[in-house]
């Protein structure tokens, strides 16, 4: 567990260093650490049980296994079903002039974020994903996407996607949301 936490903290610190101004560093670091503290409790393995239950049964009536009926992998980052968006709530920046991990021109990324854990169906790994908002213009209005895997009410702020994460920006006007891979959520 300690090794895992160390790894996560290293990833988080690197992410903060890459993304944040000095002014916002402390606030960001505090938020990421809050998320890290909650990690053992995140739904880091959601897929197999739920998916197996929804698969059609075999001819003898027994449950199918996931390997028998592979779900279609969505690779389009403009689709709400794209794997990185498992805990997003807002407009997809990839539909607004950005990409799944970059903001549209003329906007500013939020230095503070909420965190999700999403499984990449292509490699079966769980990834820590930081959901930064892009800020400074009114709502984009394209590709609304609301998914809430592991999302918690706002008293657990670091796992909440309802508060305005542009709140600490010079211009806190919310435009759209990106999903930035922080690293593999090691078990």
């Amino acid at each position: 567990m300690q090794a895992r936490l160390d790894r996560v903290m290293e990833l988080a610190a690197r992410h903060v260093a890459r993304r944040s101004s000095r002014r916002s560093f402390l606030g960001t670091f505090a938020m990421v650490l809050t998320g890290v503290a909650a990690l053992p409790l995140l739904p880091v393995r959601r897929g197999s049980v739920a998916e197996a239950a929804e698969l059609p049964p075999k001819a003898d009536g027994s449950a199918a296994t996931p390997s028998q009926a592979k779900p279609k992998i969505v690779t389009d980052p403009n689709s709400c079903e794209y794997w990185k968006y498992c805990a997003i709530d807002g407009f997809l920046c990839s539909c607004c002039g950005g990409t799944s991990s970059t903001c549209p021109p003329g906007t500013e990324p939020s230095p503070i974020t909420w965190i999700g854990t999403c499984q990449n169906p292509a490699d079966g790994r769980d990834y820590l994903v930081s959901y930064n908002d892009c800020c400074g213009k009114t709502t984009c209005g394209a590709c609304t996407c609301v998914r809430n895997e592991g999302e918690k009410p706002m008293y657990r702020m670091s796992l909440n996607n309802d508060v305005n994460w542009c709140m600490a920006n010079d211009n806190p006007n919310y435009h759209c949301s990106v999903s930035v891979i922080l690293g593999v959520a090691e078990k």
Binding site: R147, N148, M154
Partner: protein
Amino acid sequence: MRLARLAVVMAAWTALAAQGAPAKAPPPLAPEHIGVEKLPAKTPHWAYLLDVSWNNYIDERVYVYDGDAGRLLGMMDLGYYGNFAESPDGKTSALAATYWSRGGHGTRTEVVEWYDNQTLKPRGELVLGARRAQVGAITPFNLAYSADGRFLYSTNLTPATSVSVIDVARNAAVSEIDTDGCVQAIPSAVHRFTAICENGRLLTVTVDDSGHEAQRSVSDAFFDVDKDPVFVQSVPTPEGVDFVSFLGDVHGVDLTDNQVRFAPVWSLVSAKERGHWRPGGQQLLAYNAPLQRLYVLMHRGGPGSHKEAASEVWVFDAKAHKRLARWTVPTAEHGGGVAVLATRDDKPLLYVATDKSALLVLDAQSGRVLHTEEKLGQSLWYMQNP
């Protein structure tokens, strides 16, 4: 050119005359005079409908709606990430929001505007600090009057959390009280507010006559955020509030004393339904005190579906903890339910707003749909009683 035009007019006149004039023409319509409607007398069946204008968030608004007449009566501007509270005497609405000098950019102003509820015009304002909480889950507890109307509690989030206490008569923020990471300000008599904390406890702060903190206390934990968190969208009851958890447990909270008390937990769902039928949406709970009814937006879904729109409204006897009815939301026609509100009287209406921004007005005792607005605004996520 002029002759040609005259010829056209003459031809038209001749054609009209050929059709034959009616024997007796009706009297001409009287000239009209532009005016401004005055709001009729408010009834308990009115509601304030908050439209967050999801696709253009800087243009939120609050509609005033008469559920009996099925009629929009007027509107108030709300700005960005706004919150709404009506004063206990009903004369004023406080609307707190963000504005920029150039639409979505320029100089930022956080402000609470005081609207006159008879004219629906702002009659004053108080500029707030840039810390005002911008929160998507709209509840009565992001901005709330004290029971006597003396203070207005405005929540802050930076993401450090605090509550600004506004002395309404002085039109001044008189203090800012640190809530130690806990969120919301649920008011209770006479000058107290309660915030909900990550560790499952409630923080209650008593405010003195000058608007400053006099005392604080922390309750026992009443839920486990990791196992089954409660929605922050609790609903006011005569004793305090009812919280509902993601899996459908009801946690009644009594705020009538300095000491917070918790009622025995009861469930909205049977053992068989648990985990399959869940509460969800935006404003997912409504309560009517005279009939002791709790109304809950419910859907079929699994973990992570807590914001899913409802396919049914479940009706409970809130004292006997018994389900009385399941009413189907016409989802195919109007979308799923995202907000629900019961009026306060003993012959209540139930307002249901959908994710297609339709508004259904039901008889809250029978479930009969009395009136339907196919589309009112853009995104009705919160409603409040006068």
